[in-house]
């Protein structure tokens, strides 16, 4: 159970000195990253990880939590003002946010988005605080076969639920697994796939690779689309929503909070999915669904609340089981390991005070972005107009210098650029990048625990199916993979039919 005394101490630590400054700075930077279309929360965290090296581990973590929550919220600002989601997580906010801006109510929409995000984020942070210790306590019973099964579950969900094509997701995930094997064998200690080079003996550096795959690849993407960046012209007034407007959205808040939490806990899907489900459920259960899409505050509150409510859910499996929920939490996990903190149940046993500080940091981060969002809304709106011709080179330089800073080694910079370019090519040709990164974390977990299981059972695979928890997780993995692939095939079929119908209609008009 959560220790309230430690939690209060955690709040005191978060609000003291450098930690408070780091949290506010992280949140501020996160909102800016989120508000600029094309820059994602994952990219923001990846970019800022090197800046946390010189910091005390908790100061660095609290800063990254600020970036994470701030960026997820910030995406809604661009959705409302320029009809382009700042982050993929804010895609559904466009539906009602932009029509509100066209009616001259951009300020009101941003105000509602801010409060809704704050409610969702705080709810999920509280859930994380109360459920994480229970789950971690349960996970202390896990042994190698259970961890192997968990890694298989995480991998199967990741490769089947991300991207358009499951085949490409699997290829990306498998390549990630093979990349994770470069370096010394986890049990035998002999070199694997190093091609005789000393630099590869320790494997590819994880953080430069993350920066490359998530930040630099997006940088290349921005180079491609740089001329299409829209500009903000709306004037923001009446930003703080009225009590009556908030009361009208109470049911939406409750619904979206629960949706966000459930989606967040599910591996491989996060805020991007939560916002759409939150919006469609709000529309489905509304007394006036016909008004959705015409510019109503409920249509802004639902997706924003759901997307931020997924953040705590994403962190839950990462902190308690070492199983990242999505790309952003994978990067956060990388940052924690840099500070010599290994997420998992042992983190709760060995660093109880730090875990409670993280909970306090997460709750505070959600309050901080609400204050910043309401106070500096006009500034964040102007940030969208930033000249990309100067911003993009800055991103590239920050990526490369940040990678170099990890070990003062040019090889890390080369790793970042190499994976950045690979990531860009992958995005261009519909290969999802997240499975590749998640597979590297889960691959290490899967391989070492498989080998341990085999050592425990004297090379008998039966150990994986004779332990009830491991067997349940493996069955769940098979079921999720099967349903995931089936669902994707169905949606692809629907897309193909729609495309064919559109083509037939075009031909008909031309005829």
């Amino acid at each position: 159970m959560v220790d309230l005394h430690l939690l209060l101490q955690g709040f005191a630590t978060v609000l003291s000195g450098y930690n408070a400054v780091a949290l506010v700075m992280g949140s501020f930077f996160g909102i800016i990253i989120g508000a600029i279309p094309g820059l994602t929360a994952t990219m923001g965290i990846a970019l800022l990880v090197p800046f946390t090296f010189g910091m005390n581990p908790f100061t660095g973590i609290v800063m990254l939590l600020g970036i994470y929550t701030g960026a997820i919220y910030g995406g809604g600002i661009a959705s409302i003002l320029i009809k382009t989601p700042g982050t993929p997580a804010a895609a559904a906010t466009v539906f009602d946010g932009y029509p509100l801006a066209q009616k001259g109510l951009a300020g009101k929409a941003i105000g509602m988005a801010t409060i809704a995000s704050g409610i969702g984020g705080t709810f999920t942070a509280l859930c994380l605080t109360f459920f994480a210790p229970i789950l971690a306590n349960f996970a202390l019973r896990f042994s190698a076969p259970e961890y192997f099964a968990l890694a298989v579950f995480g991998l199967s969900v990741t490769v089947t639920l991300t991207g358009k094509s499951p085949l490409k997701g699997i290829i990306s995930g498998c390549l990630g697994l093979l990349i994770a094997m470069v370096g010394l064998d986890p049990m035998g200690g002999f070199p694997r796939f190093t091609f005789g080079t000393v630099q590869l003996t320790g494997g590819f550096s994880f953080v430069p690779m993350l920066i490359g795959l998530f930040a630099l690849s997006e940088g290349f993407r921005q180079v491609e689309v740089i001329l299409t960046a829209p500009k903000v012209s709306a004037v923001l007034t009446n930003i703080i929503p009225r009590l009556r407007e908030l009361k009208e959205c109470t049911r939406t808040f409750i619904r979206s909070c629960i949706i966000g939490l459930i989606v967040g806990v599910t591996p491989a899907i996060g805020a991007e999915t939560a916002c759409f489900i939150g919006y469609s459920e709000a529309k489905r259960t509304s007394k006036h669904p016909e008004l959705f899409g015409t510019g109503i505050l409920e249509g802004v509150a639902a997706p924003q609340c759901a997307e931020n409510a997924s953040t705590g859910g994403d962190l839950l499996p990462m902190l308690t089981l070492g199983l990242p929920g999505d790309a952003a939490t994978a990067v956060l996990m990388g940052a924690l390991t840099i500070h010599n903190l290994q997420p998992g149940p042992l983190l709760f046993r060995d660093h109880t005070d730090l875990v409670h500080q993280i909970f306090a940091g997460m709750i505070t981060a959600n309050v901080v972005f609400v204050i910043l969002g309401l106070t500096f809304a006009r500034f964040f709106a102007k940030v969208i107009n930033i000249d990309r011709r100067f911003l993009v080179p800055l991103i590239f330089i920050a990526c490369m210098v940040g990678s170099y800073a990890i070990g003062n080694d040019i090889f890390d910079m080369i790793t970042c650029v190499f994976f950045g370019f690979i990531g860009y090519v992958m995005i261009r040709y519909d290969y999802p990048v997240s499975p590749m990164v998640l597979a590297q974390i889960l691959g290490v977990m899967m391989e070492s625990n498989f080998r341990r299981s085999m050592a425990m059972s004297q090379d008998s695979l039966l150990i994986l199916v004779t332990r009830p928890i491991a067997l349940t997780i493996l069955i769940l993995a098979a079921f999720t993979t099967f349903t995931g692939i089936r669902r994707q095939r169905k949606s692809l079929q629907m897309e193909e039919e729609l495309a064919a119908a559109a083509a037939a209609a075009r031909e008909g008009r031309q005829g």
Partner: protein, 166 residues
């Protein structure tokens, strides 16, 4: 990458993936098998076999005309910008240790902004000067991370600018 259709891209991906899988099988055959530590080749070979099967399925889909349509082709000015950015970035890697962070980043920032379409020289030069010095100040001074010096910074230090660069 220019004018590449999704079908061609899928075929190229498979052509890259197949030798990787074969190499995994080849190299894992040479590994020692430590006693009581599980067989080290099981997972790598399993992953390679699964990857190979998936790649062949992708190839089948591509050759039977079931590849997904490409969102947008990379051509014209877009292609020139991406190529310029890639050339500058890979070039940066080769010279940053020799010339040093300050000089290389000045040129990189200036040329990159120019490649992206900025043509006002005063802005370009100001940007080129400001970026390396600000990044240098953050990393070298605030975070105590030494950045590549190269001959430009070495020369500046030799001529009495050490205090400025500290």
């Amino acid at each position: 990458m220019a004018n590449l259709t999704m079908k061609k891209a899928d075929v190229i991906a498979v052509v890259i993936v197949i030798p990787i899988c074969l190499y995994v099988f080849y190299e894992s055959g040479k590994w020692p098998v430590p006693a009581l530590l599980g067989r080290p080749f099981v997972i790598p070979r399993g992953v390679a076999a699964f990857l190979l099967a998936t790649a062949l399925m992708l190839l089948y889909r591509a050759l039977t005309g079931r590849a997904f349509p490409l969102e947008k082709r990379l051509e014209g000015a877009d292609l020139r910008r991406v190529t310029g950015a890639a050339v500058l970035t890979f070039g940066y890697l080769f010279v940053v240790e020799r010339i040093g962070f300050l000089g290389t980043t000045f040129l990189y920032a200036l040329l990159f902004a120019w490649v992206l379409g900025e043509r006002r020289w005063l802005r370009l030069i100001l940007f080129g000067i400001l970026v390396p010095f600000v990044v240098f100040a953050i990393f070298s001074t605030a975070l105590h991370v030494p950045l590549p010096r190269g001959w430009i910074e070495g020369t500046l230090r030799d001529h009495g600018f050490a205090l400025l660069l500290r």
